[in-house]
Assembly symmetry: C3
Homo-oligomer: 291 residues x 3
């Protein structure tokens, strides 16, 4: 993985504006707030009769999904269409090709097509950065998930949801529960929450599902729900990323859900006005809807 300075120099202009959107790490609170404010101005569009604005008319957005995801692809496709962009969906299986070569060839072809924006999803950490380093200066790259590294747009959507319900980030205690080890969303959420100034970020998981040195990200580690959920304002449930687990990190799945599944009894530890965010019903979603 690359150094933070390196990321900054890729995704920011010399004036500190976003050129690409690859990771939340290194972005300022004012930049994140600007993103949230912009998103807020589009929230009402979904309820309008004509859900279309000419913002990206005549621009071409290419969705490069090296890792398949119907839900995420549809979301980006629809967003681009509602902004009046021309959209290309490229589902690129990486299994049957020599990856490095294909990626460069694909980029050369897309460069010749004069696409304006690439939305990239890839199973390898750093893929979106690699692409951002190799595109022409007028192309913007958005990271829609790279390996275990980052998923900044999903995290910003979660921040928007928290702001809509809680108004302000200051003073909030937030708990993130479950498979932190494999979750790129959790990494991006932690960076965003810290930058936006919440009072406390907690992670609750068995030690086998926690990345090493996660305390260095500015979080408090808990292994028991009863202690970790105490008095929190926001609970973020992660799904078990079983497709990314390379060995037996869990004694059993039912044991995991017994200890870390959210029940009414456990929810009672949190503040009475706490909100719960989850990617679908946990027992089902990891089976059917990789996010």
């Amino acid at each position: 993985m690359l150094s933070q300075n390196h990321y900054d120099s890729i995704q920011l202009t010399p004036e500190g504006q976003l050129k690409h959107f690859l990771t939340i790490e290194g972005l300022s609170a004012s930049l994140l707030t600007e993103i949230l404010d912009t998103a807020d101005s589009f929230v009402d569009m979904g309820a309008q009769q004509v859900k279309k604005v000419p913002l990206l008319r005549g621009k071409t957005v290419a969705n490069l999904f090296f890792e398949s995801s119907t839900r995420t692809l549809s979301t980006f496709e629809l967003a681009a269409k509602r902004l009046s962009a021309d959209v290309l969906n490229l589902n690129i299986s990486t299994s049957s090709t020599s990856k490095g070569e294909t990626l460069k060839d694909t980029l050369m072809t897309l460069r010749a097509m004069h696409c304006d924006m690439f939305v990239v999803r890839h199973s390898a950490s750093g893929a979106a950065h690699f692409i951002a380093e190799h595109v022409t200066p007028d192309v913007a790259v958005i990271n829609a998930g790279d390996g275990r590294h980052a998923h900044p747009t999903q995290a910003m959507l979660d921040m928007l949801t928290i702001r809509q319900h809680k108004g302000d980030f200051a003073g909030l205690k937030v708990a993130i529960v479950g498979d932190l080890l494999h979750s790129r969303v959790a990494r991006s959420q932690i960076h965003a929450l810290r930058t936006l100034g919440v009072a406390e970020i907690r992670v609750i998981a068995p030690l086998t599902l926690l990345p090493r040195h996660i305390e260095a990200m500015g979080v408090k580690v808990f292994t028991e729900m009863s202690r970790g959920l105490r008095d929190v304002d926001v609970i973020i449930m992660l799904r078990l990323q079983k497709e990314r687990m390379q060995s037996a990190l869990l004694p059993s799945e039912s044991e995991f859900y017994k200890l870390y599944g959210l029940t009414e009894a456990k929810l009672a530890y949190a503040r009475t006005d706490a909100i719960v965010m989850h990617p679908g019903r946990l027992t089902a979603v990891w089976k059917s809807n990789p996010a």
Copy 2:
């Protein structure tokens, strides 16, 4: 399968207008005629230089095809694009997922995307109704085929064709020939023909390919072409839905075509100005193009 009152309450507004289009059963003759008149006003568009009207501009149409069909999907996709809608195609295989969960998860995601219309095709009877019951009030659902139950848009297209050739439905004798047992289109056709007031609806098939109690739908049953085709104005040939046959309902396919295939000799039983409607050349189409 649900009761008729239940269908009515889902697809009609209290004022009797279409909210969803799930089945032809229960719709009035004036409503069907209104649909045909509207369709008629678009027929000329196909011949125009600019095949595009702004009717659905800023609306989002999601094609939810749980059952794959290139021809049907393309038709709906193109129709929506010519009406200026933004279109999302979602080919959702039901084989590898726990169906109930996925359907609900998918619907929750689509709800969050503020789609305006779902075009649903599913191998289970009642799927479009289920979805119509679970969407928010501002979403319209169109049934593009559910199991053996209904295929209302295909049937209305057939009614339009009959009206274009025959002018009026009153006085017409219509014969539907072949695999009535598995045909959702035939069910929708029978409801439409009866409501639009044809003089007589006949079904011609071996008893093994007829649903029980089909007489209750207001049709006359024939097992011989020579008698069933006598003096009819319209002949609708169905294809053998071999992919839906779960056991040996036919002694042999060649025997079936010998008895129920349409030849010039058999056609001579019908009126001299009879029209024949079929889904492609029968011997070939069931192999290559599931309609």
Copy 3:
């Protein structure tokens, strides 16, 4: 394969204008120059803020890809969208269906949809011609590659590149290197180069990778790079079409690249201002990106 007169009568109007674009064979120099001039007028569009013109607004373009190719499909899709057409992508696998029947059924369906243009890619030589013969008079067919026969749009793009770099075709010596036997692009390139009036067309390949009687196309045959590349202005490298090779035409791949791969040493035989055109890095592209 069909006779030239037959091709002409299909793709040209009585006035000699293009009705379809199936092959370069038989087209006049002035017609090819008109295509290049038109293409030139769109080159700048890629650099503009709004990459969109209303030329095909309200028209429907159907991409009929019986042979899969992500790069080529994306290119045609994007071109049609930037010209404001409605676009249908139809990836039609020919493996599981009885080809002849499906093709006719598909054409009948597309005819009913009133598509304005079919872009056809097929593994069988003559497929685009067959379709052009069976469509209604108002439909235009573009050949995006048929078997070993022709790939006229790719060849015209290559001609545009040559003209951009060399200004004029007169006086040019052009060498085409590699698997001439399986290359439909090479056939189209040779027809275009001859018609546009280059001084000399050379093909360089082992005899096993040359079509019989290729000299009849007006080219000089070389089996050694050292002689074939001498003093050429343009070098066109072909990729090894291994997926189309039905038997062992090469002693070994590494032996082929040793003899016919382009190195700086071999490039030194050409003129110092020679340009090299290739479909990607040769050692990689045949693996990952069938063009």
